[in-house]
């Protein structure tokens, strides 16, 4: 018993010692990349105090606003992330925007280590004629809309004036948006889909979704799970070409072939249709005469190998186009950025100020989509975070060794800054209030939660 007490006492004094000179760490962004980084930092460094800042009032990034509402199992990881946020050495600051609430150079002053994990909040563009027509949206906006993101709750895509939607791209996001457009709304009604999206989908006249890919089924960027799921829903017409090589591609290809051969040649009446269109790329968008609204897409044939034959064009009529061709990160002031790749230049997560000469920005790190581009699954961020945290640990023994022993203001400094700028931050407790409210409204409607979709209401619910 006395040994136990002594051990406790030693542990306590050790932890106070640690706390007297904590390692101040700031993680920008609270999606999977941010949370896995925070978790790994807390685990690797007893004296680390991690503050997470987040632009939105709510944590979890794309787990909340990217994962489709009919994939609740994928969101279970929120439990693990919440345990991280509740760690006594971790604090969450929602509604704090890097750039306007606090600048990168300020964060680097206040903290020993700054890890940028704010992902990709913009989109790649096609650069073809007519891309600005109304009725053309990025898949990201559409996903944010049906997931109740406060920045896209007013998007209101027109699902009523057309029976055809064209989705450009064949990755998992493309399959997600196609599935949401085609899935019976009775099945969506019991998910955490945003109310405005559910109503709009219930009144939707879209019966046919075309997924357009530049290359063949073998090159399709989607994975078998998402494909299997959507093939379980609808009638499908496909063109098959090419042979299979890698494991993922072989299994995706086999699924497509099976679906194409095992179904009746004609769709049953009233059945919705999913068309896979391979080896086509958008050539231009056509606008209708009135109001610049899109009325069709012209597609051009592509080949896996360069050919000199002349091109054939196909015109597909539609009033809704969703571009699912990739997300893109946005730089902030004072951050080196590779414009062509849309990522922050880095070596194993260490930000490079000069790529050619490998000059490292001390104490500044990057992880997640901002580091490697917008691909992969939630778990990819786990390995990514491990790599970045390994770099940080190495530097704490090396270039940061002296600096990390001199105290930095950390949390107190951040709070002072936020206070001086009258930024009302949302603590994790505030998110728990939002969470509670959403769940209780959802319970009435037999939904896991009813998401609050406006900034004002979110902040009100958080009680700030």
């Amino acid at each position: 018993m006395s040994i136990f007490h002594a051990k406790r006492a030693i542990e306590r004094s050790f932890s106070t010692l640690c706390r007297r000179n904590p390692l101040r760490v700031c993680v920008v962004g609270s999606g999977p990349a941010g949370f896995y980084t925070a978790e790994r930092m807390l685990k690797a460094h007893d004296r680390a105090e991690v503050d997470m800042i987040e632009r939105l009032p709510t944590p979890f990034g794309l787990v909340r606003y990217g994962v489709a509402p009919d994939h609740p199992e994928t969101k279970i990881v929120i439990n693990q992330f919440s345990r991280v946020a509740l760690n006594e050495r971790c604090s969450f600051f929602g509604n704090v925007n890097l750039g306007s609430s606090v600048s990168l150079s300020e964060l680097r002053e206040i903290y020993h280590v700054v890890v940028l994990a704010y992902g990709a909040e913009s989109d790649r563009t096609l650069g073809v004629l007519g891309e600005v027509c109304s009725g053309i949206h990025s898949a990201r906006e559409f996903v944010w809309w049906y997931n109740g993101h406060p920045d896209c709750s007013n998007m209101s895509p027109d699902l009523k004036s057309t029976d055809t939607a064209i989705v450009l791209g064949q990755g998992n996001v493309a399959l997600d948006v196609a599935r949401i457009l085609l899935r019976p709304t009775t099945e969506l009604a019991t998910t955490d889909i945003a109310e405005h999206a559910l109503i709009s989908l219930q009144n939707s006249s879209i019966r046919k979704v075309c997924l357009v890919g530049r290359r063949g089924p073998v090159q399709a960027a989607c994975t078998a799970k998402e494909l299997r799921e959507i093939l379980g829903l609808s009638t499908i017409f496909i063109i098959q070409e090419e042979i299979k090589n890698s494991r993922i591609q072989r299994r995706v290809y086999e699924l497509l072939c099976k679906a194409a051969t095992s179904r009746p040649p004609q769709p049953l009446s009233g059945q919705r249709e999913l068309h896979f269109i391979f080896f086509r790329r958008p050539d231009c968008f056509l606008a209708s005469d009135c109001g610049g609204k899109v009325k069709g897409v012209r597609l051009e044939k592509t080949y896996l190998k360069a050919r000199s034959s002349h091109l054939t064009n196909w015109l597909y009529l539609c009033r809704l186009v969703l571009k699912s061709i990739g997300y893109r990160s946005v730089p902030v002031e004072g951050l080196p950025f590779d414009d062509s790749r849309g990522v922050v230049p880095n070596i194993n997560g260490r930000v490079l100020s000069d790529k050619q000469h490998n000059i490292i920005e001390n104490g500044l790190y990057v992880t997640g989509w901002l580091k490697r581009g917008p691909t992969g699954i939630i778990a990819t961020n786990l390995y990514d975070a491990e790599e970045t945290v390994a770099s940080i640990s190495e530097d704490l023994e090396g270039v940061l060794a002296d600096d990390s022993n001199s105290p930095r203001p950390g949390r107190d400094g951040l709070l002072q800054l936020l206070d001086s700028r009258s930024v009302q931050y949302v603590p994790f407790k505030g998110w728990e209030e939002i969470d509670l409210k959403e769940k209780s409204i959802g319970a009435i409607k037999n939904k896991p939660r009813e998401k609050i979709t406006s900034w004002e209401e979110l902040l009100r619910a958080a009680n700030t």
């Binding site: 693990q80 994975t223 078998a224 993922i248 299994r251 581009g373």
Partner: protein
Amino acid sequence: MFISKLARAGAQLLIKESNIGRYLISRTRLLQGSSRRPFQPGTHFFSTSDDKVHEEGIDQKDKISVTFVDKDGEEKHIKVPIGMSMLEAAHENDIELEGACEGSLACSTCHVIVMDMEHYNKLEDPTDEENDMLDLAFGLTETSRLGCQVIAKPELDGLRLALPVATRNFAVDGFVPKPH
């Protein structure tokens, strides 16, 4: 002090009761051939304090020996009750195996590598759903499985599982960004 001890003993008794019930359910499911069993976080088939009771009360044969080999090659030998998944067993024994979706077959974070063919062949074939997730696992091998889908059974006694090595160059391991 005394009261709290008494309360703890009572609570343990309750836990034991419910554990046995759950254990029986899981065995029945196993017999029905279902390998998809959700992992319940925070619930334990056997808590460590129960181990002694079971070792005395129930035949030792109801547990199998499993060895986990971690990223650094270090081995950890554990006893796993029949019917328990390797994900649960790992968590009960503080083995660092991720379980982001808590065993609902929606992620690949509990990826383990069965270290010998003989044991691998004794497992039921992975379902399509498990294969879909394995597609996305890092460092996939021919004998890779998801820890949540490997359920302890007597034939698996002596099973050796390796945790995949998170290599620094994971980005080239099946996750080359696709050109757009």
